[in-house]
Symmetry: C2
C-alpha cells in the first residue's frame, strides 16, 4: 500500500453504465465517511452480451484509470464484470478488489430455507455459471436455477418500467422459474432492482429477493475495517463523490440525480480506451 | 488513389454490429463481382444511444482498420454512424465514403406522393435530425416526422420478432405516426428491416416502406462506375467476402449465416481500439 492510497483515499466503484449507481448509493449509505470515485462505461455499455476477453480488457482499463485517482480499494458494481473479470484483475492488480457476485451468493445461501435458489442476470453472467459455482462452493446441497433476461436492461433504460410490455417480458422470462419451488431469487444485474416491484408482483410474496448491493457494501465495510483503511472523516472534502463516464456525461448526470440521494452537479468524460 | 487500391480491391462495409449485414447482402446481390471486407463493432454495439463524438471516434478507428485492408471505397452501413459521422470522416480520409442516410432520403423523396414522410430510427439518429435535413434539402416542401424506437434493436437481437410483446412495442412507438397521413416510411436503422412484416402489418398496406440498403447499393454501383473502379471479376479470389468483428466472433458468424445467402465460414476478431 503506497502512501497516497491511505485511509482518506477514495473508494473506486465501476459499472458498464448507470446500473452500478445502486451499489454506490448503498456504499454511501452504509459508509458515509468514504469518498467515492464512480466510473460508468457508457461508451461501451452493455457488457452483458459481450465476451469474457472483452470484459476483462474493459475492466483492466477502468482499474488503471481508477488507480490514477489514488483509490484505496475497488468495487466492481457490475454483475457481468464481477462474474467474468474479478479473478483475472485480482491476480493482476495490487489493490483490494471486490465484486458483487460473492456477496450476493452468500446472502442467498443464508436466506434459502428449502435449498433452492434462482438467479436472474445478463446472458454473459448466466453463461459464466459463476453464481452457481460460488453458491455450490459455499453450500453444495443448494440447487441453483439461472435464467438470462436480456431485455430487462433495455426496458429499464427506455423507461418502460410501468408499461404492460414489461409485465409480459417478466412473465416470458420468469414463468419457468415461478413454476419451480425456489424460495430465494438473486437479482444478478444492477439494473434489475429497478424492476423489483414488478418482479415481486409476478413471483409472489413468498419468495425472498436478494439485491447484492446491500451485502457488497457490508463486505467493503468489513474489508476496510480489517485492514485499518476506514476513512476517519476528519479530512474536509470539497465534494465526497466524483463521477466519470466514457460517453454522454449529461445524460448520465440526469439519471444519477434520479438515483442518488444527493445532488450530482458534474460528470466528467474520460477517454477510457487510452488507459 | 494509390496503386494497391485498384479496381480489384475490396469494398469496406461497416456497422455497429450485425445490422449492416442487410446492406452487405444487398451489395453482394447488386454488385456480384465486388469483394467485401465487413467489420461489425460487436464490442461496442449499440451506437444508437451514444454521443456524436464517440460515434465519430469509433468510425475513424474502423476506417483506419479497413484502410489496412486496402479497400477502394467504404460504405457506412449503419444509420447512426451515417447520420453523425459521415461529414467528419469524409473530410478526414482520402477515400470515397458512402452512408445509408442520403440514399434512403432520396428514395423517400421519390416515393412520397403527398409529401409526408415518416422516419424511424435510433435515439442518436433521430436526435441528429439528419434525415429531415437531407430530405428537406432535396425537397423543402416535404414534411418529415421522425420517431426513435430504441427497443426495436434489442427485440430483434433477442429473437422476439414473433412475440406478442413486439407487436405491442410497435404499437407504442408507431401509434402517433399511424395517426398522421404519411404515405412513406423510412426504416432508418439497419435492424428494422428484420421487423418489416410486423411494421407493415401495423401500419397497413397503403404506406410505402423504404429500406435504404437497396438505394445504398445502387449508389455504390454508380460511384464505382463513374470512377472506373468496378471490379472486372477477372482476378480469381479464394473468398470474395471477409468478416471482422471487435468481439464474439462465433455468435456473429452464426447470425451472419442466417442473413447472408452464402456460407460464412470464418469471422476474425480485431482489437479495434488499437487503430
Amino acid at each position: 500500500m503506497s502512501m497516497e492510497n491511505g485511509k482518506n483515499a477514495p473508494v473506486g466503484v465501476f459499472d458498464s453504465g448507470v446500473g452500478g449507481l445502486t451499489v454506490a448509493r448503498e456504499i454511501s449509505r452504509q459508509l458515509p465517511n468514504e469518498n467515492i470515485i464512480y466510473f460508468g462505461d457508457t461508451a461501451r455499455v452493455p457488457y452483458g452480451s459481450k465476451s469474457q476477453n472483452t470484459i476483462i480488457r474493459f475492466s483492466e482499463q477502468i482499474i488503471r484509470f481508477l488507480k490514477t485517482k489514488q483509490v484505496k480499494a475497488i468495487v466492481i458494481a457490475c454483475n457481468t464484470a464481477s462474474a467474468l473479470a474479478l479473478d483475472a484483475v485480482r491476480d493482476e492488480f495490487d489493490i483490494p478488489i471486490l465484486g458483487v457476485v460473492i456477496p450476493g451468493a452468500r446472502a442467498a445461501v443464508e436466506a434459502t430455507g428449502n435449498k433452492k435458489v434462482g438467479v436472474v442476470g445478463t446472458d454473459a453472467t448466466v453463461q459464466s455459471g459463476m453464481y452457481t459455482k460460488i453458491i455450490q462452493g459455499m453450500a453444495p446441497d443448494i440447487t441453483v436455477i439461472e435464467k438470462a433476461c436480456p431485455l430487462f436492461v433495455p426496458l429499464v433504460e427506455e423507461g418502460f418500467k410501468e408499461h404492460q410490455v414489461t409485465r409480459e417480458v417478466i412473465e416470458y422470462y420468469l414463468e419457468p422459474m415461478r413454476s419451480t419451488d425456489i424460495d430465494t431469487m438473486i437479482l444478478g444485474c444492477t439494473h434489475y432492482p429497478l424492476l423489483r416491484s414488478k418482479i415481486r408482483e409476478y413471483m409472489g410474496d413468498k419468495i425472498q429477493i436478494v439485491n447484492p448491493a446491500y451485502e457488497t457494501a457490508m463486505d467493503l465495510k468489513k474489508l476496510l475495517h480489517e485492514r485499518d483503511m476506514e476513512n476517519d472523516g476528519k479530512t474536509v472534502q470539497h465534494s465526497r463523490y466524483a463521477f466519470y463516464v466514457s460517453d454522454a456525461a449529461e445524460k448520465f448526470r440526469k439519471f444519477a440525480n434520479t438515483v442518488m440521494p444527493f445532488d450530482v452537479p458534474t460528470t466528467n468524460v474520460v477517454n477510457i480506451e487510452e488507459y
